[in-house]
């Protein structure tokens, strides 16, 4: 072991970490703001029905039926059409937090290309990961 120098961490790793951290944190803050707005009214879900449904062990689709104005599960990015409600804002925050990894991977890919701090094989690896995460976020890959 050589104690004479401190190795510099990879810039592409730092970019992934920074992008992921700030987007996750930003999304979390938006989600918390939406949560506070819950108590000011203008909710998408009926809070009482939702809370009772959770505690009584109702299935997700039952809760949607009882607590949402749509009376059914809204699939896809439903919250984008309901950003005027506290639930819509909270879900937007959750969505942004979950996109953090996707943008982090693309940022890491771009940094690897610009900085050339890693061998080409790792650029290919991070490109594959970025494409996979993007496809998942867009709903092109069904996990279930």
């Amino acid at each position: 072991m050589n104690d004479k120098f401190t190795p510099k961490p990879s810039p592409s790793g730092i970019v992934y970490g920074d992008v992921a951290f700030w987007l996750a944190l930003g999304g979390s803050v938006i989600a918390v703001i939406g949560m506070f707005l819950y108590f000011t009214g203008n909710q998408f879900f009926n809070a009482e029905s939702l809370f009772n449904g959770l505690c009584r062990g109702q299935r997700a689709n039952q809760i949607w039926h009882n607590a949402s104005p749509a009376r059914d599960v809204l699939s896809g990015h439903w919250y984008l059409k309901h950003l005027g409600t506290s639930d819509g804002i909270s879900m937007l925050g959750i969505g942004i937090a979950c996109l953090a990894g996707v943008f982090g991977a693309w940022g890491s890919f771009a940094t690897m290309i610009s900085k050339k701090d890693n061998p080409t094989i790792f650029i290919v690896f991070v490109l594959i990961i970025s494409l996979l995460l993007t496809a998942s976020a867009l709903g092109w890959i069904s996990i279930h």
């Binding site: 050589n2 990879s10 949607w64 709903g139 890959i141």
Partner: protein, 345 residues
Amino acid sequence: MTFLDRVLKVNTSSSPASSSKSSGDPGTIKQVIEIMLIVIIAASAGFGSILAAIGTEASALSPTLFFVGLILVCAAIGIFAVLAGVGGGVIFTPLFMGFTNIDSYIIRSTGLFVATVGALIAARPFLRKGIANIRLLYTAAVPYAVFAVIGSLLAGYMKTAMGPASEAYIQGALGMLVIGIGVLFVLKKNSEYPDVKQVDPFTASMNLPMPYFEDSLGKVVHYKLKRARVALVLFCGVGLMSGLFGLGAGWAMVPVFNLVMLAPLKVAATCSKVMISIGDTAAVWPYIQGGGMFPLFAVPCMIGMVIGTLIGTKIMLRVKAGFIRPLIVIVMFTSGIRLLMKALG
């Protein structure tokens, strides 16, 4: 300066001497143990509050009590998840599925979400310090993520073609495998900083090792890796199992990094955490798009997980890697027993 500030204050000095002295100080270890005990007590109180709330009539429930309880429990989960190098979901999901009657789809959805957020928050300091090896984790993330997707598609096919009985066989086999890995961890010596005498040509050609400065030792850790080919095959298996069961796989990633590739334990744990942030991102979106996420439940859990992850990350940067080894073993045994119980119905 408060007690918490003193405990969590990260040593930013690059001086090996000062780092070594502070992290090896018995007072610091005592303070870390104290704060862990406080968190455990707070989490127990929180979980008790949730159980008490759910045990009462719905009309008498206190949402405030429920929210506070969720935040405390998830803060504790966040701390242990970071220290053990696993996703919070693998702790959160069995706890809530076992002790509350909340719909499992909602629990799994929220569990994946809190694990993702926890891992995303944790990734930054590990990558900035260079402990998490970006080459190693991206190399491992490719087979892991690709086979996780294949596994999840396979799970859907098996459920349709063979029914729920097929899942019981696979869960039983997985449970025994995880317990076996836990036993291996207990029996295996010198896994904190494994000694690699000879590197195979394939691993050498990948040029994976990246040295890092270890605060707790006060010096730069240079390490070698081996058996990359075997590890890549194993990550295919780990990804396949993760996709099949919808669980995070930090408990399986750490042994592959540490026992197969012989990466230092802290490198294995931090790489695993960053990989969870990648893998769970792919897995959480179908749940969101399928309507399994409710902000009223997910947001308090997320707040607690973020707080816990930040505390856990600070602790992890200060303590020696051996501190987390018993936690990893506990998580493995717990996961294995839980899977066997599920397999036996």
